[in-house]
């Protein structure tokens, strides 16, 4: 009966802690999504710069990318937290600190994915835009990026999961995220396994959801290029054509690692 009582106690604690855990989870979701948006913007800007023929654009982009890829996320987090204020940039909230560190780090990895997929768009397409004398924004927006976008989604999906996992460290600058609240749960119950199961499963399901969404984005991007079924066909209860893809979370490359092609 002792064992049963203990289980009940665990369950009650979990029940009392439910709202806090949920809040923490929502904060992790926010960190991931806002961080991912910032990372995406940085990735596209740096990726376009790194893919440009002009040395004045390519050089700085390469330095920034290699710097943020080469140093560790935790170093960057501490740097944003402790050192940036000395340069006159005080960040109002820990949330901003976390989002900036995540955005810069994973943005640099994403920039490699963006650059690699831009170079994978066939040269004929680039030449055609020149032949039609399209302006730079026009050709990137209408011709090059839509094709590169379909190519870069798998890498970006991997990076998104990496970003979610990386967000678990951000609690050290004072954010009550999912990981932090789980740690609090451990403190009051000594139930490490509850912590283990609730926490890991929570992160896992969210990561799974993110990869599924990215898979659907890929289907849509490919369909717009005239490849594969429409999103509607895939989502319908009786799909005519099943999604052909590796199992979720399959990671053919290190963030920006294998896709990077040439480093210099």
């Amino acid at each position: 009966m002792d064992w049963l009582d203990q289980q009940q106690q665990y369950f009650e604690t979990l029940q009392n802690f439910g709202p806090r855990l949920w809040d923490g989870f929502l904060l992790t979701v926010q960190l991931t999504l806002v961080g991912a948006i910032l990372a995406f913007v940085i990735a596209v800007v740096l990726g376009l710069m790194a893919g440009s023929p002009s040395l004045w654009l390519r050089g700085p982009a390469r330095v920034i990318i290699e710097f943020f890829r080469g140093t560790s996320l935790l170093v960057q987090l501490f740097w944003v937290y402790y050192v940036l204020p000395l340069f006159g940039l005080t960040l109002e909230s820990s949330f901003t600190v976390g989002v900036i560190a995540l955005g810069l780090n994973y943005g640099a990895y994403g920039a490699e994915a963006v650059r690699a997929s831009l170079t994978s768009v066939s040269t004929g397409q680039w030449e055609a835009t020149v032949a039609l004398s399209m302006s730079w924004p026009h050709k990137i927006r209408r011709i090059i990026f839509p094709q590169a976008w379909a190519l870069m989604i798998p890498s970006l999906a991997n990076l998104l999961v990496h970003l979610l996992k990386g967000s678990a460290i951000v609690y050290i600058v004072g954010l009550n995220d999912f990981n932090f609240e789980l740690d609090q749960l451990r403190r009051v119950t000594d139930a490490w396994f509850a912590y283990a199961f609730v926490g890991l499963i929570g992160y896992f399901l969210f990561a799974l959801l993110l990869t599924r969404i990215m898979l659907l984005l890929e289907v849509r991007a490919k369909h717009k290029l005239g490849q594969g079924p429409t999103l509607r066909e895939v989502l319908s209860p009786t799909p005519k054509m099943p999604i052909v893809a590796a199992h979720p979370g399959s990671a053919p490359s290190v963030p920006g690692g294998k896709a990077s092609g040439g480093q210099g």
Binding site: T96, K165, Y203, V254, G262, Q263
Partner: protein, 233 residues
């Protein structure tokens, strides 16, 4: 959301305002940070990579040879480990097995976590072995063990080396997460040094530069290796 306001008050700038970088202090703390780098960061990377390389291959082979329900379980267990944060995994083992040395927990978590990544690389390598090779081993009536050891794995491994190297670098840059289970690894040593003196700039920057100095040349080297292997094929 992104409100950047000018420096106002209460920042840990210490007594030396206007003096952001102090060379004497930087030189003073450099040996300590470098020692932590060699003793912990490099050690965990090397041991973790070795564990990951072996377990990753085992996972890849298991998924290939086990009957499908079991292979399904192994595959999803690997997915589960791959898609959950290293930080949480470290904390779970740290509090779950308090008798274990934190460094040992580091070896296990980094080894197993990256094994799930490396198993994907091995899987791709195994898939790239031509079907004719498998058929030839059948024709020569080789045993399953011999087929794997002598024919499949040697051919599969060749193309995987650069990707494995990239994961080793990736693991290297994740080692600061050991901070959360209070292993005195480089970044936590740097943070400690900063906290003692309220001079974080030097310590954190040195730690970052050591990472850069170690990982960037290695990445270049792996890149060249990748290109050479691509040419050789």
């Amino acid at each position: 959301m992104m409100t950047l306001t000018p420096l106002a008050t209460a920042q840990p700038s210490g007594e030396s305002t206007g003096n952001i970088w102090d060379w004497d202090f930087a030189l003073e703390i450099f040996p300590e940070i470098l020692t932590a780098f060699i003793q912990v960061t490099l050690l965990v990377t090397v041991v973790g990579t070795a564990i990951a390389a072996v377990i990753g291959l085992v996972i890849a082979i298991l998924i290939r040879v086990l009957p499908s329900p079991l292979a399904f379980i192994v595959r999803w267990a690997a997915n589960f480990i791959r898609m959950t944060p290293i930080v949480v995994q470290l904390l779970v083992l740290y509090y779950g097995f308090t008798w274990m040395d934190p460094l040992l927990i580091g070896f296990i978590v980094f080894g197993v976590h990256y094994a799930t990544y490396m198993s994907e690389v091995y899987r791709a390598g195994i898939d790239s072995v031509p079907k004719g090779q498998w058929e030839a081993t059948k024709a020569l009536s080789m045993s399953a063990g011999r087929t794997w050891r002598r024919v499949v794995i040697p051919q599969a491994l060749r193309s995987t080396i650069p990707s494995l190297g990239n994961y080793a670098i990736s693991m290297f840059k994740d080692t600061p997460f050991l901070f959360v289970i209070s292993v005195a690894e480089m970044v936590s040593v740097a943070q400690d040094l900063g906290a003692q003196t309220f001079r974080y700039t030097e310590a954190i920057t040195i730690a970052g530069l050591i990472f850069l100095a170690a990982s960037y040349p290695t990445a270049l080297l792996i890149n060249r290796l990748e290109k050479r292997l691509a040419y050789a094929n």
